[in-house]
Amino acid sequence: MLDKTRANAPKKRRSRSRKLRPGPGHAIEIHSISKWRGAASHITRFARNESLQTLIELALTIRHVKGHRKGKADDKMLEPLLQQVTVNIERGSVVGVIDIGGKSRAALIRILGNSEAPSTGVIRFFGKVAAFGQLGASAFPYMTCRENIEFGARLVGVPRLDIQAAMERVPKFSGLGEFLDMPLRRISKAKIADLGMSFACCLDYDILIADEIARARSETVQTSWQNYLAQAPGCGQTVILGSRNVSRLEGQCTHLLLIKATELLDYGPTSEIEKRHAGFLDEARTTPIEAEDQFASADEEDEDGEVM
């Protein structure tokens, strides 16, 4: 008897953690973001040549760079990457970030993807964020591709349920289902990149942030990716893209964000921007990308020095 009444009782609605109210209409608010990097400082010198002398020099100079955060430090010490970028990005826009040289673009997308803290300013996200740059956080060659993707996503704080749901969609999205259960060391890098990209799209979060994502090698992934971009505005999903290939971005994006000499030049729909800043876009197309510093930082694998 008791059981029956319980079964018939209306189910209690789950309380939602966030309230649904009419929002401000934009997905990302970027407020006066600046970023400096200590290019000419002794930090770089130490990173190139790790010795006692450079370490002491570094320790002596750090006090001069203390104003780093507020931008008061000596200009020779710090190289600006972004200065006072303020922009609101509407829901459902596919934004391409373009600059000359590629340094500011990379910095902005790294900051948006929470891979790096800005020097000043605040960014507010309205919705769940999937950052493609973060998702490759785990690389254990002896584990399968599926385990690697799942573990990497867990490391950057994606909930388990979302990971499971996304993993079910990955084979259909990418058409590379048979590679998922192979050890990572047996798969080519292009396929790994494709699978990671498929996973980021399959998470189906409100905001997707990606640098250099639009270079899918496999055809299935390429068509799925085009579909994803085409459907995103209708679904209210926001995508932020950066690429070396400016002309490809123009074809994919509804909005463009131009950065000139570390400052925001313009932001708006692609067609308008193309009319207004045709000269700038031409320059961006022809300028070669500066080589980005890549210090080799493989995780060490040593187990000595163990006492007790």
Binding site: K19, R69, N114, V129, G157, C201
Partner: protein, 292 residues
């Protein structure tokens, strides 16, 4: 993939906010507290580093934790002056190692944490303290192993000699205090040493040596009564771990000498070292970011 039916939710309050690095220690600790959800996955990663590609797998953790202690018990139980009153020597050492294992493994593992996770740090901008705390998963596992062995030991003593050494009562409530304080102390020290290890690998040779030296100045394998009085004072009031170990033994077995004075000194040292470590880590964070 068909997504024609779905629309993303419109949210009024920001779900995620990116801010610049802070220079306020307490705000930094608050941000660490908000990023605690990253610790389980990080801890799993650190644990996997130990036993990956091994045949024995998880058992390596047990073996590495226990073998040295069993050796100590086997040898030193024959030294008459080391024997405590009213407690078998085995239980005495294991209860001491229960706390010491936290100290030694935290210092060793958390020191390596920042250098081990450099690729991850380039991708995930959370306070560096979280990486140091995340490798605290290893000492936690070691602690659990020793706790299990201690319970087994008490059980064996109970069934063989019929004496229950574990004292049931409110004294067991004091157990988390020494454990927590030692953990804070070690995280504080490891904040300094982990940054040092990023700059110079000398730190990894110094830490085991210092830990070994510290081990002899802590009453784990001997009782404090066998020392001369001046040494007793030094050990109890200068070494912050000794009163905590004595307190742990007292809360478990009702055996041990500790007073409020030495406990206050050691608690102050532990908290101070933790706060200083957090402050140091906070202020060096941008240097580390640029080095990556």
């Amino acid at each position: 993939m068909d997504r024609s039916g779905m629309t993303s939710q419109v949210v009024a309050t920001p779900t995620f906010v990116v801010r610049p690095l802070t220079l306020n220690t307490f705000r930094y600790l608050y941000r660490c507290a908000r990023a605690l959800k990253f610790i389980p996955a990080l801890g799993h990663r650190f644990l996997m580093d130990i036993y990956r590609q091994t045949i024995l797998g998880w058992w390596w953790l047990v073996i590495r934790a226990l073998l040295p202690t069993l050796g100590i018990i086997a040898i030193f139980q024959h030294v008459p002056s080391f024997q405590p009153e009213g407690l078998p020597y085995g239980l005495y050492v294991i209860s001491g190692m229960l706390l010491w294992t936290i100290l030694s493994t935290t210092l060793l593992r958390c020191t390596r944490s920042l250098r081990r996770t450099q690729t991850l740090q380039m991708k995930l901008a959370i306070p560096k303290m979280i990486y140091v705390l995340g490798s605290g998963a290893i000492p936690l596992v070691f602690f659990c192993i020793f706790a299990a062995v201690l319970i087994i030991g008490i059980g064996i003593e109970y069934f063989s000699s019929g004496i229950m050494y574990l004292k049931f009562g409110w004294n067991l409530l004091l157990l988390p205090i020494p454990v927590g304080l030692v953990f804070l102390l070690c995280i504080g020290i490891a904040s300094f040493t982990s940054v040092a290890l990023v700059f110079a690998r000398d730190a990894r040779f110094i830490i085991p040596l210092m830990t070994q030296l510290w081990f002899y100045f802590t009453p784990i394998i001997y009782t404090i009564d066998i020392m001369p009085p001046s040494w007793q004072f030094v050990i109890m009031h200068v070494n912050p771990v000794s009163p905590l170990i004595e307190m742990l033994r007292w809360s478990l077995f009702g055996v041990g000498t500790w007073d409020a004075m030495s406990l206050a000194v050691s608690a102050t040292i532990c908290l101070l070292v933790f706060l200083l470590g957090a402050r140091f880590l906070m202020r060096t964070e941008w240097v580390l970011n640029e080095l990556m």
